[in-house]
Amino acid sequence: MIIAQQKPIKDIAEMIADCKKVLLVGCAGCVTVCLAGGEKETEILAAALRIMRRLQDNPLETVTYVATRQCDPEYIATMDNLVKDVDAIISLACGVGVQYIAERYHDKWVVPALDTKFIGGSKVHGVWEEKCGLCGDCVLHRTGGICPIIRCSKSILNGPCGGSQYGKCEISKDVDCAWQLIYDRMKALGRLDKLMEIQPPKDWSKSRDGGPRKAIREDVMIG
């Protein structure tokens, strides 16, 4: 899922400093699961902003709503009537949600409450880790199911580099060296010979470097 985290509340308050009434929109998708922008977080943020503004003698009126998914324009349409009389919309979705809202409500000031961080999972409750760099050309079959693109700090395809020591990456003793993990797993699978093959340069045009991407499935398109 997409992992996001709330921005510092001061920054969010700053974005809506000149507004009297705002709509805070949570999302029931990924950000609910990663506890950044679900119903609860939306209400907490609304209360915190209200308190903050009352302390400044400049009360803020808030309306809250949680969309089923902000990454689907059809779910955004469901909030049309809530939007009318607010000065701004604060989205607690990933960047996709913020953009769809901004697209639909041209004349509204739309701001992000979250920093969209990465694609990952949660190993234990409260800890999320990055697992995929969305490279558009998955190589996990060549690396024992461990992603070298995002879990190696240098995205090395023929690792490990000379900074790998005691299982950790050169950037931090808290970061596992992906290539140590790949080595261990390939060894356990009896496939170390695979690691002797020189992996060719990656085609980054399938990643963000090729410009904005689109995925199309003609067979499921309507009309």
């Binding site: 700090s153 240098k154 995205s155 090395i156 395809l157 023929n158 690792g159 490990p160 580099c161 000379g162 900074g163 790998s164 020591q165 005691y166 299982g167 950790k168 990456c169 050169e170 950037i171 931090s172 060296c177 140590q180 080595y183 261990d184 170390l192 690691l195 002797m196 020189i198 992996q199 060719p200 340069p201 990656k202 980054w204």
Partner: protein, 307 residues
Amino acid sequence: MKTESKLQKLLDSGHFAVTAEIGPPKHASAHGIRHHAHMLKNYVDATNITDCQTAIVRLSSIAAAVHIRDCGLEPIVQMTCRDRNRIAIQSDLLGAYSLGIRNLLCLSGDHQKFGNEPSAKNVYDIDSIQLIYLMRRMRDEKLFFSGEPIKEHEPRFFIGAVANPFADPFEFRVARLEKKVEAGAEFIQTQCIFDMERFERFMEMVRERGIHERVHILAGVTPLKSWRAAKYLQTSVSGMIVPDDIVERLKKAEDPKREGIEICIEQIKHIRNIPGVHGVHIMAIAWEEVVPEIVERSGLYPRPKVE
């Protein structure tokens, strides 16, 4: 495949090579590096020019190499994969060759996290092994990285790589070295050696695989100025092993700098007797002036002459 590299001629003719390292300055004057080049030129066969080592912004490696060549010392340009994509790497290396640079060392480069631009974006378009492979192919098959032919004047570098016997997983270090040789590396410089026993085990594995017959291995050494410097390398640099007895020896020494030089000379004398080692690479970090003495007292002076 012959290049115009003097270092290659020396190594291919069986001489025990001596290389050193010059770190370009954090300013725009070549005065200091030219001074170092003059100081070193009769004592070493070639010198590496680091490429923003530890991700600290410094005068460009290629520009520094031109100054050094100007002073009569053969440069080895280091090229990391951290800061340039394949377009910039090719372009810079075509330029470097046109300026008379003949030796190239390919590395991944230290992550920018500990440098002076930690908020920079890193590149890592290709990795060091791919860089070796592509530069070798550029020279031998006259192809750009993309596969497009180079009609004329392809750059003909003597291509080197690094190996770190002190990084993990240890068992894979020799295999990865072999992978670099497969990719096309013709000389190897190792990370600085302090744990001689581990290096010997590494070389044993190298010999078992016959890698020393396919590539020239230059063993890296670093003279230490103080026990604090040793301790720093021991605890704060990932991929280094510094045994406690070296730290202790420097701690007990009356003149630690002297002691650092003595240790380095002992190491070189020892390394010369390890089968399969074809040279020594002296990395006197910000202490270039001690290199002549180390070379001389290690019995490596005068340096052989080649055409």
